[in-house]
């Protein structure tokens, strides 16, 4: 942990060297998320509600998605650049060091400019939490925390899978973006609006609904089922198969030789 903080402070100081660029990227990240928000706003301006979900409820959902994604992106983004680490042979160096490989990949890249997105999410929370009509009792607060945590782990798991695939293909696979960026974009609405089939897929195959849709129903009081509240725990467990897959990938690793 101490080492991680050391890595983090080096990277932060590094990125702050380019002050204007850093600031612009942060603002840019904010604006990207903001234009998505405007898209949602305009839709509700016209239609009022979708599938029985109100504007503020959807905003809450959107904020949860954005927070967990931007946290995961900030700290686990090292895996996103993993094809580069493999193809330039940096992974060989990582493997000979007496520290865990995952730790090193994580610590190699921390994108602080991604907090631009996080600001957006916090702003949304500040607006949506009081307006959403949710009575913030202890169990609701726990649900919210579980959702954020579950989201963080599911996204991290997806980033790890994305990186592990690089062991087999050497190159990043663009279609994995559907699961990461796509989840962020389309997960701003409760997942049930995409229909039964998509919801099932996102429950059993890629467990996004476990931290988004089911606990969200509990959060806004559509259900009292305690299982729905605890669904994100199963989402957190998603990290386990991802890590196993990673281990298999590492054993499979052949250096590119450069």
């Amino acid at each position: 942990m101490k080492l991680y903080l050391k890595y983090a402070s080096i990277i932060l100081r590094c990125q702050l060297q380019y002050k204007v660029s850093f600031l612009m990227s942060t603002i840019g990240q904010f604006l990207v998320a903001f234009s998505t928000f405007l898209g949602v706003y305009f839709m509700f301006n016209r239609f009022g509600s979708v599938n029985g979900f109100t504007y503020t409820e959807v905003l809450l959902c959107f904020a949860i998605m954005l927070t967990s994604f931007s946290l995961a992106e900030c700290f686990v983004r090292g895996f996103d650049a993993f094809s580069g680490i493999i193809s330039n042979g940096e992974f060989d160096r990582i493997m000979v060091r007496p520290r865990n490989e995952i730790f090193q990949v994580l610590a190699s890249r921390i994108e602080f400019s991604r907090i631009g997105r996080l600001f957006q999410a916090i702003a949304l929370f500040m607006y949506a939490i009081p307006k959403s009509g949710v009575l913030w009792s202890v169990d609701k607060i726990i649900t919210l925390a579980l959702m954020l945590l579950g989201g963080f782990f599911v996204f991290s798991g997806l980033f790890i899978i994305y990186a592990t695939l690089c062991f087999f293909t050497t190159e990043g696979l663009e279609f994995m973006n559907i699961f990461t960026d796509g989840t962020r974009e389309f997960g701003k609405y409760p997942l049930s609006i995409y229909g039964e089939g998509i919801l099932k897929f996102l429950t059993y195959v890629v467990p996004v609904a476990l931290f988004q849709y089911y606990p969200f129903l509990y959060l806004i009081g559509r259900t009292d089922n305690i299982l729905y509240m605890l669904a994100p725990v199963a989402g957190i467990a998603f990290i386990v198969p991802c890590l196993i897959f990673w281990k298999i990938g590492v054993r499979h690793y052949k250096s590119t030789g450069s």
Partner: protein
Amino acid sequence: MKKYLSFFRIRLINGLQYRAAAWAGVVTQFTWGGLTLLMFWAFYQNGQNIFPMTFSELSSYIWLQQALLALYMAWYFDNDIFDTITSGNISYELCRPVDIYTMWFTKNMAVRLSRALLRSMPILIVAVFLPKPFNISPPASVLSGLLFLISMILGFLVLIAFSMLIYISTFYTMSPLGIRILVTSVVELLAGGIIPIPFFPQSLQTIINVLPFASMQNTPFLIYNGYFEGNDILLSMLLQIGWVITLMLLGRVLMRKALRKVVIHGG
């Protein structure tokens, strides 16, 4: 003219090599389009009467948007050009007997076109056979089909003329990254990349429609699906022509100004 044609050809052929990447792109964009339509479908369920167009018109719009993404995506830039400016290699380009603006313009066209050629057909073919109303319909009429093609090219030119301004701004800022993210997110929204412009609030639409961004992808798609009719088509296409000329002139002027006092960074 001939030399620019060969720049165009080299880039085009170069771009056509990346076929595996193109297939991955097709899968991604197809899923993206499908999910977008499902999202709109959910809104359609409770508000059919306030939907600004019929659902199959929207389907045509979304599928065209996904299929032609490579032509109109605002976030794509040719990194070679940025590198040329920041690394100082621009000095070599300046020695060549070519007009830099035209050269970059044609290169950009070629890269985007090559991507679109590889990706658009598979998406469109599958989209034709989807169940109604999620499929892409044929153009509203033969005439609107023809006008769509012309307007598509005009929109393409507007977009490239606009992105040339971003390249040129690098002469002044030397760090393209920030401006790029900033500008592209604004363009994406105002061009109808997030939700089609007819879904914007009415009062905003009147302003947005005259901005150059609406002249990019929005105009050709709305001509294709029949949302624009008669005079609307004529006006919006005239606006497109106006923006192509304005943006290209502006780009040339700024480029000449920038080149007059260009600072070469090292060698």
